[in-house]
Structures are given as structure tokens and as C-alpha cells.
């Protein structure tokens, strides 16, 4: 017989845990769900838009009744559990229904806090927690005029905004002097207040409610100073309290919430708890993002995988009031140990404050322009050392990096629904918002897979994050310790260090050692693992062809019609009549579809049939040309200008140096593609300042540049140092490549890698630590001894022949 799992609380956290569990173990349990509310699970966050009349209840349902049926889950909706009998291991509801459990999951959420003043029980005094409350407010708004919202926090303001939209006169009463004081500092709170006042909201600040007046139905509110306001509807939104009554009654250990450990287990090992009702490491959460992280861990243990661990969350907040852009995260008040960077433009309505501690962001408040919220939040969670970008930090990521596509459009809330967000796949803002609300999406990854927005070149991901935050009110991007892929809980860095520590040399070793969930991984983890193996043990590791993307497996670039492109290497962009003739002849002989000068100073022959590749390569390699690796996560091109040999401004032999660099480094595998350039003088005709490694020749020697990128997000290089001789250039270049190869994550180009670890670190490793640099250089040379051979020559001679011919042709 299957084990029985009972869930108490049919809300966002509990059902999410079930979804995660079903993904891992669809058939392990007989599942029964009890919920007080007479509805299937809906998206509580979106009650605000329902109140504002922007959405219907149907549109915010996350799991329809069919979902429960389809997954064999018995749902008792409208059936509150009133008792847990831990000895007999069963739960009992108010109507006497009983269910036995082997494991119990509690996700009872929280209760709105009702201030215990006289009159709090009158008709027309309601809280803002569930759809029933919203229905009450909607009915009242049709009949009555005056509403008072007690509480100027997130919920209160969203309630007030909704009631105004329903045509009521609304006063917000707040005990403090600053609105949303738990999320905003004074300056931002004041700006928020001003914009809301412009929307027609009235405020009574520093007002203490003394009693609620009325006979049967509320008629007014009286304050401690004796003043009275008229009210036909009072919404109490002063806070929430974890709903622990049931747990307490059952004798489970509770403090403010039900106390759980890092596996989401309560003091009774058969009972797990998650969501707003729990207290984990002294903290109770009131936002969705942490609950989802908890749900993952909880599901992992219910599935008896036993390695998930919840270590707490850093949260961020957004207010979901149309037209107001506000973001806050972390500790934004600061103290003696912190410093602040502030930008304030009262007239323009923008305010930004970053709190810095030990060169790391520890909190942020943004008002008016929240474009960079997600970026600051990421820097904060990753603990990035910001000393290298301090000066430009407040101007945001786009000041720092330019990006191509979506015409520099960055303000999500100002975009119309018809505005295109993803230029690769033609997805508009309206499509994204619709998918988020109707499909119940919460993360950028979910939006990517449902709408394809951001799934191609990725330049619009920041915008997608903002739309998501505007719609859902928070940051749902995955936390820093993101697993490599769905096959594992481990991160890139953990996989790589395990490979080194245990000297693993093949993928099976990694799968076994690290308990991979899938027998042979997936298209995301296999190429990454393969790279980590060959970069750690260039001479021992087994390079697994089936773990490489098709381009690297057949040494050509696959095209949309399934044909391939062939780009021979042209060292430093300098070619010869012999090479040009060879290319011309090859193009004719193999009837290629198009001959194209590439952006990397070489020639591309497109439209080659797979079966023709070996013969074409034989033709090219016989005449001295080798693979250009235009298809690989490898060294691509070294662009050069003509330099001192011809140019009247040239200071050094840039072409010669570029050729030497390419000669030494071609055929080296990298975490991502790697491009270089050498310009003969600071006019920089070879565009060395947007390359992974660039050299700008100067009269006294060479200026070395690193971390540039010319693609989706343009990033100009940082200057590493100046050196005097070509030999030094070579040594620095190869040491830098080796550091990148050993430490960057798979598919991370040098630009984001440098951003992540900081220029200072690289300077220290390459510039200051001279023996360290020499050792890196040495390791690069050693690995080139194994790696530097032309794959085309061996394929032309018959290696891997099965790749290129059909298994059989029938009927010819």
C-alpha cells in the first residue's frame, strides 16, 4: 500500500510543495488535501488586482479542480481541520471527516491581525486576506462611499488603491510617520505618499485608532486624540500572524511560528511545515519567494531524497500599484558599520539609495526608477565586491553595460501591452503579463519556457524580470546557489570542485559520486560536466562526444536547414592568394550555398551538406588550412589591424603579434567562446576593447585589456596592465585564459565572469602574483600539448565516420 500524505492548508505554499513532490515522485503517496476555503488553490498575491477590478477570480486560480483529479489528489475544500491526533496519526475536520497519515504537511498560512479595539467585531470591519474578504469589499463599494484602511503597509496601500478604483473615498490611517516603514526609508516613503495623494488617497499619519464606532454596522473611527472620521467600511491591514492554533493544540513546538529545521521538519518527525505559518532560524516570512524555496526542500525530503536544505532567504519587495515603481531589499536603514550611496531627484521623482557594508551591497531602496532593482538584488545576494564599480553603481547596469535589442527600452511599467519585449521571438509585454497571471508563473525560467521571451539571446531578461516583479510584487529570480540543472541540487562550482577533489575523469563518475537524479543527465548538465572534466584533467579525462553539442561533435556550425557552415582558420585575419584560391575552389567543388565574410575577419562557406564535410575538410587541410573553431566554446578569432608594417600611425607589429597569439592558443577549449584582437595604436581599428582579451599597441609597448564583449550586452574591456615586450603579452594572455578556463562557470563569458569576481582579483592573480602567473601559463602550455590538433584533419582521415554518413538509404 502507498504511504499516505495529508496536507492541511490548500494555499500557495502547501500546493507548491505538492507540485514539486509530484515532479520528483509522482506515485509515492496517496495525497489528501484539506483547505478551509471553499476553492481550489488560487494566487493570493493577485487579490489586489481582483479588488482593483483588473482581474476576475477565475483568472487567478493556480490549480483547477481537474489538476487535483488528474494527480489523484483528494481535495476537501471548505473543510477546516480542527484536530491533529499525533498518536493515531490522523486529522479531523469540523464536520467530523477523518484522514489518517503517514506524513503530514502543514501550510496553514497566517491570520490577519485585528487590533483589539472596541467595535472591531462590527459589520463592515474586514481584513484583507482571502477572496471572501475581497468579495465583501466589492459588495460594500457598490453600496457605500467612505472607506478607512487601517495600516499604511504593503497590503493596506494595495487595498486602498483597489477601493479607490471601485469609486470609494479612501483614508489610510497609519500609526507611524512613514508609509511602508518596514520596506522604505523616510525619503522614499515621502515620495510614495505624494504620488498616492495625487491618485486621490488621503492619509492620516501618526494616528492611533482607539475605537470603531457604530451600532450594528461600522459608522466611524475614533482616534486617541479624540478626532473622528466617518466610515462605512473599515479594512484592517496592520499585519499578519502565523496561524499556529492547530499546531499548538496538537502540542507541536511553536514560538512565533511552527518551528522547523533546515529540512522543513517540525519537532514531530512525521510532520513537515512550510509557508507563512513556520518559523525557520528565528524568521517568519510573509512573501511568496521564500515559500517556494521551502517547497522545493520540503518536497525533496518527502520524496526521501534527503539532500535539500533550506538556509533562509533574502527577500525584496515591490508595491503592485499601477504607475508606482518602488523596490526595496535587505537592510536599507544601515548603521555605524555601513555607508550609503544616494541619488535623489525630487522633481523628477526618482530616488535611489544603496547601503554598503564591507564593499558589498546590504540593502537597497529605489523609487521612481526600479530598472536596476533585480541587478542590485543579485549583487547583494551574491555578495559581489563592488569596489571596482562604485563610481558607476548608482547609474545602473545599463550605464555599465550597453545592450542590443529592444531599443534601450527599460521601463517595464511604462511600456504598453503591445510593446515588444523579446525581439528574437516576437513576444509582447501583454503576452507575458497574460501568461504570468493565467498560467500562474512565478519565475523568469517559467516565463521563458511558456512564452519563449528571453529564451534566445537573453538580452531582454532584465525587462522580463521587471514585468514579473510589477505583476507579482517581488523578486522571484532563483537564488544564488542555483543548481546546475534539474538533474541535481549541486551548483556548477560544487560539481567542478568534486571533480577535482575526487579526481573524477568521466561523466558516470560524477553521476555516481553526486547522486544524479537522472541516469544520463540532460542537454544542460552533460556539456558542462564534459567541459569541467577535460579542463581539470586534460590528459586523463574522457572527452565524451555524445555530451557535446552537435557543432562541437561534428566541427561545423549547424544551420537552420540542417546543413553546416565551414570556416577555416585565417591567422590574425591575414590571408594569402593561395588560401583564397583554396577557399574559392572548395566553394565551387562542394557547391556551397553562400560565401560570406564574417565579423571575425575570415570567410564562411555556408550550406554544406553533412555528408560532404569530411571530403571538404580533406581538400582544405591538404592545402594547409585548419579548422577555425567557429562552432566551439573555444578560441575563435584574433582580429588584427595592419599595424606598423603599413599604417602611418602603427606603433607595433599588431598583425604579427595577433598571428602569434592565435598560433599559440587555437584549439583550446573554454567555458564559452573566446575572442581576441590586437590594434596597432589607440585608434583601435581591430576593436580590441570589446574582446575577451585585447591588446592595444602603444609607443612604449602594449596595453592589455580583458573582459570585453560585443554581443548581447556590450561591455568595454578593463585595462589589466601595460607590458613592454611581446613575450610578456604572450605570457599574460595565456595565464589569463588559463585562469578563465579553471574558474569561470560553463557558458559564462569573460565579461560576466569579470563582473562577478571583480577586476581586482584578476589583477592580483595575473599581475601581482608573478609565480602564480607563470604557473597558470605553464598549465596552459601543457594542456595545449594535448589539445592542439586539428579535428578536421583527423575526420578527413576517417575518424568518427559514422557521424557523417546515413545508416542506410532505403529504396535508392
Amino acid at each position: 500500500m502507498k504511504e499516505r500524505l495529508v496536507l492541511i492548508g490548500n494555499g500557495m505554499a502547501g500546493v507548491r510543495a505538492l507540485e514539486e513532490l509530484l515532479k520528483l515522485e509522482p506515485n509515492k503517496y496517496d495525497i489528501t488535501v484539506f483547505g478551509s476555503e471553499p476553492h481550489p488553490n488560487y494566487n493570493r498575491i493577485l487579490l489586489s488586482p481582483v479588488l482593483a477590478g483588473e482581474k476576475k477570480f477565475d483568472e487567478i486560480i493556480l490549480n483547477k479542480r481537474e489538476w487535483y483529479t488528474k494527480n489523484n489528489i483528494t481535495l476537501h475544500a471548505g473543510s477546516p481541520v480542527v484536530e491533529i491526533n499525533r498518536v493515531k496519526r490522523k486529522v479531523i475536520t469540523s464536520d467530523g471527516t477523518e484522514a489518517e497519515y503517514d506524513r503530514l504537511l502543514m501550510a496553514t498560512g497566517s491570520d490577519p491581525f485585528i487590533i483589539p479595539v472596541p467595535g472591531a467585531e462590527l459589520d463592515g470591519v474586514i481584513s484583507f486576506r482571502d477572496i471572501h474578504d475581497v468579495e465583501q469589499m466589492l459588495i460594500a463599494s457598490k453600496k457605500y462611499k467612505n472607506a478607512v484602511v487601517i495600516g499604511g503597509g504593503l497590503l493596506g496601500l494595495e487595498a486602498a488603491n483597489g477601493l479607490i478604483k471601485q469609486g470609494m473615498e479612501v483614508s489610510v490611517v497609519h500609526l507611524m510617520d512613514t508609509l511602508m516603514e518596514r520596506q522604505l526609508d523616510e525619503a522614499a516613503g515621502a515620495m510614495l505618499k505624494r504620488s498616492l495623494e495625487e491618485n486621490g488617497m488621503n492619509f492620516m499619519m501618526g494616528a492611533q485608532t482607539e475605537s470603531i464606532l457604530g451600532e450594528k454596522r461600522v459608522e466611524g473611527v475614533r482616534f486617541a486624540d479624540g478626532s473622528i472620521v466617518k466610515a462605512d467600511l473599515v479594512v484592517m491591514a496592520v499585519g499578519i500572524r502565523p496561524n499556529i492554533d492547530l499546531a499548538k493544540k496538537a502540542g507541536l513546538y511553536c514560538e512565533r511560528g511552527v518551528v522547523v529545521n533546515d529540512t522543513m521538519q517540525t519537532y514531530d518527525p512525521r510532520i513537515y511545515a512550510l509557508g507563512e505559518c513556520v518559523q525557520h532560524r528565528e524568521t517568519c516570512y510573509g512573501l511568496v519567494a521564500p515559500l517556494f524555496e521551502q517547497a522545493k526542500v520540503c518536497a525533496n525530503h518527502l520524496a526521501e531524497l534527503g539532500y535539500g536544505r533550506y538556509e533562509g532567504s533574502v527577500t525584496s519587495t515591490k508595491l503592485k500599484v499601477t504607475g508606482i515603481d518602488l523596490f526595496s531589499a535587505g537592510d536599507f536603514h544601515g548603521d555605524d558599520t555601513t555607508e550609503e550611496i544616494v541619488f535623489q531627484d525630487l522633481a523628477g521623482g526618482t530616488y535611489k539609495k544603496l547601503v554598503i557594508k564591507d564593499n558589498r551591497i546590504s540593502g537597497a531602496v529605489l523609487y521612481g526608477n526600479t530598472v536596476d532593482g533585480a541587478w542590485y538584488f543579485q549583487l547583494m545576494r551574491e555578495g559581489t565586491n563592488i569596489s571596482d564599480m562604485r563610481e558607476s553603481l548608482l547609474f545602473g547596469q545599463s550605464a555599465h553595460l550597453g545592450s542590443s535589442g529592444h531599443g534601450g527600452e527599460t521601463q517595464a511599467s511604462a511600456m504598453s501591452d503591445a510593446a515588444q519585449v523579446c525581439d528574437c521571438n516576437g513576444v509582447c509585454k501583454g503576452d507575458i503579463v497574460k501568461a504570468i497571471t493565467s498560467e500562474g508563473l512565478f519565475t523568469v525560467d517559467e516565463v521563458k519556457s511558456h512564452t519563449k521571451a528571453g529564451a534566445s539571446c537573453g538580452s531582454c531578461v532584465g525587462l522580463v524580470e521587471q514585468i514579473l516583479a510589477n505583476t507579482l510584487g517581488g523578486d522571484y529570480s532563483a537564488p544564488e546557489a542555483k543548481p546546475l540543472c534539474a538533474c541535481t541540487e549541486f551548483t556548477h562550482d560544487q560539481v567542478r570542485s568534486t571533480i577535482r577533489e575526487y579526481e573524477l575523469t568521466d561523466k558516470q563518475g560524477v553521476f555516481d559520486k553526486m547522486d544524479w537524479r537522472t541516469p544520463d543527465g540532460c542537454h544542460i548538465c552533460r556539456p558542462a560536466i564534459n567541459y569541467y572534466l577535460i579542463s581539470a584533467w586534460p590528459d586523463k579525462a574522457i572527452d565524451d562526444a555524445q555530451s557535446r553539442f552537435i557543432n562541437e561533435r561534428v566541427h561545423g556550425n549547424i544551420q537552420k536547414d540542417g546543413t553546416f557552415s565551414v570556416i577555416p582558420r585565417i591567422l590574425g585575419g591575414r590571408t594569402t592568394p593561395h588560401e583564397l584560391r583554396t577557399i574559392a575552389e572548395a566553394a565551387e567543388k562542394f557547391d556551397v550555398g553562400e560565401v560570406h565574410f564574417t565579423g571575425g575577419q575570415r570567410i564562411n562557406m555556408l550550406g554544406v551538406k553533412k555528408e560532404d564535410l569530411p571530403a571538404m575538410w580533406a581538400f582544405l587541410t591538404d592545402r594547409g588550412m585548419v579548422s577555425g573553431h567557429a562552432y566551439g566554446k573555444a578560441l575563435r578569432t584574433v582580429k588584427t589591424c595592419v599595424g606598423s608594417t603599413w599604417c602611418r600611425f602603427g606603433t607595433q607589429d599588431s598583425t604579427g603579434l595577433g598571428m602569434k597569439l592565435e598560433e599559440a592558443t587555437w584549439a583550446s577549449w573554454m567555458p564559452h567562446k573566446f575572442k581576441m584582437a590586437v590594434s596597432g595604436c589607440p585608434r583601435n581599428c581591430a576593436e580590441a576593447t570589446i574582446k575577451d582579451f585585447g591588446v592595444v599597441c602603444v609607443d612604449s609597448g602594449y596595453e592589455l585589456h580583458i573582459g570585453g564583449n560585443g554581443g548581447v550586452k556590450v561591455r568595454a574591456t578593463d585595462v589589466l596592465c601595460r607590458v613592454e615586450t611581446e613575450d610578456e603579452v604572450m605570457e599574460h594572455c595565456m595565464a589569463f585564459i588559463q585562469l578563465y578556463r579553471e574558474e569561470a562557470r560553463y557558458l559564462e563569458r569573460t565579461a560576466p565572469w569579470v563582473e562577478r569576481i571583480g577586476l581586482s582579483y584578476i589583477k592580483q592573480r595575473i599581475r601581482e602574483d608573478v609565480p602564480g602567473r607563470k604557473a597558470l601559463y605553464r598549465r596552459f602550455i601543457d594542456s595545449q600539448e594535448v589539445a592542439q590538433h586539428d579535428p578536421w584533419t583527423s575526420r578527413a582521415k576517417g575518424a568518427e565516420a559514422h557521424e557523417f554518413v546515413p545508416l542506410k538509404k532505403i529504396g535508392e
Binding site: H523, A545, Q546, F549, I550, G562, K808
Partner: protein, 107 residues
């Protein structure tokens, strides 16, 4: 009256011609069929065209009983050619079986 279904099984090669987690193509008169060999040596056959934009599935990365299309990363079930949700689409699947080492394809 009953229609007689005729199935023609054609020998297309031996298991060892396809690397584990790899694929080879069989060209028929009216289609190109990708034969896949999973890690557990099960073989599958699908039309070599992704339901998305006709990408050649035979060039994809195999994992479990699925293949990821090389062009835009849709994941396709080898068993029946269905795209894995949230993507929607299906490519034609063929019957294929092993007789000893020999791979037989029904065309």
C-alpha cells in the same frame, strides 16, 4: 470486409553502428528517419524533423528516453514524438525493434 495492414520490416543496421546516446539517419523514399539508441540500448525511430521548425532531431543530445533538438532546445519524447510541455507538437514516430543485434525498422 477487413483491410489488411501490411507492415514491412527492413533491416537497417546493427546496434553497434549507433553510439550509445547517439543517433543515425535512415533515408527512405519519402522521409528521413532518425534512429536513436538510448543508454539502456532501447532503440527508437522518429521522423528527423522537429515539430517546432523542422530541426534535425538526430543531431540532438539524448538523455533518458528524450532528445533535445539542436536548434532551439525543444525536448521531444522518443517513445511517441511528442514535445515535452510547455511546448506543444508531435513528430511522426516509426515502429522499430531489435532482433539480436539487428535493428529492424517498419516503413
Amino acid at each position: 470486409m477487413s483491410a489488411v495492414m501490411t507492415e514491412t520490416w527492413v533491416e537497417v543496421g546493427s546496434l553497434s553502428d549507433i553510439p550509445r546516446l547517439g543517433s543515425r539517419v535512415v533515408k527512405t523514399q519519402d522521409d528521413e528517419v532518425a534512429i536513436f539508441r538510448a543508454a539502456d540500448d532501447t532503440v527508437f525511430a522518429l521522423s528527423n524533423r522537429c515539430p517546432h521548425k523542422q530541426g534535425p532531431l538526430s543531431e540532438g543530445i539524448l538523455h533518458g528516453h528524450r532528445v533535445t533538438c539542436p536548434l532551439h532546445n525543444w525536448v521531444i519524447e522518443l517513445e511517441n514524438g511528442e514535445a515535452v510541455a510547455p511546448d506543444v507538437g508531435c513528430t511522426r514516430s516509426y515502429s522499430v525493434r531489435l532482433e539480436g543485434e539487428q535493428i529492424l525498422l517498419s516503413v
